[in-house]
Assembly symmetry: C2
Homo-oligomer: 429 residues x 2
């Protein structure tokens, strides 16, 4: 096995993760603190896989007093002095998250126009900042969430539904904090970096409606609990139950700043490739679609580069970000990146000189312990030598098992950030 | 509606089709005729959507006597003087095709080493040259074919199964013609242009085995008739029932020449774009995958070009070929190109300055009367004004109905050739 291409691909992924670290991108975007003479307070709130690391970055650089509470995923806490860190469940919300979300909603009550709220939002925040709308139980929301995660719905569609089943998302948190100034610092894990989609936009006006949410339930034939349908039906008749819309005066003082994004991380990886003398080409920072079909298109482009030197001359690296989906059919293990990579290896049929890495930048591909995996020209042959059938593994959604057997999993542990999927394909000369 | 981008995209498609015409690519690849003193004859056989047009091109340029029989799709005949043209059904074989295939197999019996067989093969030949293996009825093969076409199987997988249920494919036709010299002139409609995959390779050694065919039936849970399973089980036990494998001496004098390919057509389209002052980038000539997911990746790349000028600077045209698949869920009308384009338009969300065309180069998208369709930034808005929901049309696999309502179908009639799908996306400056 040739180690050099693997090392290069791993270094590209590491650069992508590093660029997304809160300590790198956050400090320069901090707003000025409230005027001390006004008596205004600074309150830090937030949720996401990176929220504790973001709170630490704020603490390390904030010139004045602050206090607050952020929610992060189990295992993602980092010690903070002034901001309380609460751990909760992801991707399926739990009571710890619900209770902490309720406390955050309490914290922003009664603020004045002199107060400043720093809201630290990152991927995973949607599940972690989970406070059901009136009449809906956490179990109801969990049932909908579980169904959504295997439905094939896009993250935008999932977030639309979540906003309309929440007491805190879709701008409701910022509305509750009015008239305080709310500055949201965001790490984007959504296609297009739309703040209203990141963690279901708790501080951002919501362009989607209850009618949209109902349409998504119908589109994917989500088997929603009766309380969920009752809530959505009621909300569709009462404008007061809608999320704040663009132009809502309660959100006039709310501001959103992206401090790290998929594109930033792809650019960082491209610079590392360039330093190694290999031109990197960013196909897109926002690829969506079924992982195995997305893999077929990536494989087709890689083979065009290898065989016809189009649209890029080898050596070249193809980079892409975004978030694929997996429609579960089998019972194997593995997230969307392992599934993508297994389908890619199959489609490449051992094409010489083509190596690839696919990882989740949060360090956790799906619900496993790996960030992703590596594949190369010999992956299929090595698997066959182990008696492992790549097509059967793909049918069984067992990308984890496949790459685990090859010793080709990428293990990082939680990276404390999340700018979504990272894919790099190296086509050697 | 801005007509200029549509005219440009249509001219790219027309150039792609023109480059794939037999009259353009075939004559220069004709082999020398048999030595008149040897008494050797020239026999023209073949099958495919282009076979009549190919026979005409042979007649127009062949220096000596010839005779023969080719099978083409209903409506695809062109008048020939010396080669008999038989029309038959596609994509589901019929009795006309079966009878003509049996006659072709008869024609090649008893040839000598001085005889020359010109075998004219093009896309669609697999269904048109349909002669069931012993014990299998045409109805049995039709049942398997119908199941395959909606199974999500790749064209390579479909062809593997077809070869092992055929008395003429997978090299069996060339084996029957031995010891005559067999020169196959092929128009490629398969990813990678592998002659053994084009029309299921009647004159090419078959690397696939009966065991592979059985695995495909299992993979896609094809409900195969008992006679089919019996034939495959029997063939898996009798090496004499296998297709000729690479190295088979009966195929030693067989030669395959690709006279037109997806890549040739994409290059022709790229030249037309360049003449219009717009750089064209060929992403791949062999894109496979579910049409709607392939569309998501194309949309993601187009948006990267539009918003970040990566990996190409606008104005630019993205070109791709290959063959997508559609897993039928709804009951609408339309082929894979209309489905691709509808999903693309949805994913582009009306992105300004982005226009696209997706067509089958054979002029027939699926089983409709259109080659494909055009989409632009205003497609979704115009549809909405007509009360037409793009997401609902996609759920219903009704790309034809969607673009028909907009007046945006591309109608060419049969083009008498086939180099598979053609996709072009124009991103304006």
């Amino acid at each position: 096995m040739n180690e050099a291409p693997r090392k290069l691909l791993r270094s590209l992924f590491d650069a992508a993760v590093e660029a997304a670290q809160p300590a790198v991108g956050l400090p320069s975007h901090l707003p000025p603190p409230p005027d001390p003479s006004s008596g205004g307070r600074t309150l830090v709130i937030g949720a996401g896989k990176a929220s504790a690391a973001m709170a630490k970055a704020v603490e390390d650089h904030w010139p004045g007093p602050l206090s607050g509470l952020v929610i992060t995923r189990y295992g993602h806490a980092v010690p903070c002095d002034r901001v309380e860190i609460v751990e909760a469940a992801h991707p399926v919300p739990d009571e710890a998250g619900r209770a902490a979300a309720a406390r955050i909603l309490d914290l922003v009550q009664g603020l004045t126009a002199d107060d400043l709220v720093l809201c630290l939002i990152s991927g995973g925040g949607s599940a972690l900042l989970s406070l059901p709308a009136p009449g809906v139980s956490l179990a109801d929301k969990q049932a909908v969430n579980r169904a959504l995660l295997t439905s094939g719905a896009t993250i935008s569609e999932m977030n639309c539904l979540r906003k309309h089943l929440s007491a805190i998302k879709g701008g409701r948190l910022a509305a509750a904090a009015a008239p305080a100034k709310v500055v949201s610092l965001l790490i984007s894990d959504v296609p297009g970096d739309d703040p209203s989609s990141i963690a279901s936009g708790p501080t951002v006006p919501d362009p989607t409606t209850t009618a949209d949410a109902l349409a998504i339930i119908e589109k994917y034939a989500i088997d929603a609990p009766a309380a969920v349908m009752a809530r959505l039906s009621a909300a569709s008749r009462d404008p007061g139950d809608e999320t704040p819309k663009p132009g809502d005066p309660r959100l006039a003082a709310a501001e959103s700043i992206i401090i790290a994004s998929p594109q930033d991380s792809l650019e960082a990886a491209a610079r590392v490739a360039a330093e190694a003398g290999i031109a990197a080409h960013i196909l897109s920072d926002r690829v969506e679609g079924e992982a195995r079909d997305v893999a077929l298109v990536h494989a087709a482009i890689a083979r065009q580069v290898a065989s016809r030197h189009q649209p890029f001359r080898p050596p070249a690296v193809l980079l892409s970000g975004g978030e694929t989906t997996v429609t579960l059919r089998g019972h194997g293990r593995g997230g969307r990146n392992a599934e993508f990579l297994l389908a890619l290896a199959l489609a490449l049929e051992g094409a010489p000189g083509v190596h690839a890495i696919a990882c989740d930048t949060d360090g956790i591909d799906g619900s496993e312990d790996n960030a992703g995996a590596l594949a190369g020209p010999d992956s299929l042959a090595r698997a066959a030598a182990l008696g492992l059938s790549a097509p059967a593994s793909l049918v069984n959604n067992d990308g984890y098992g496949f790459f685990e057997a090859l010793g080709d999993l990428v293990m990082t542990g939680p990276t404390l950030t999340n700018v979504n999927d990272f894919r790099a394909i190296l086509i050697e000369d």
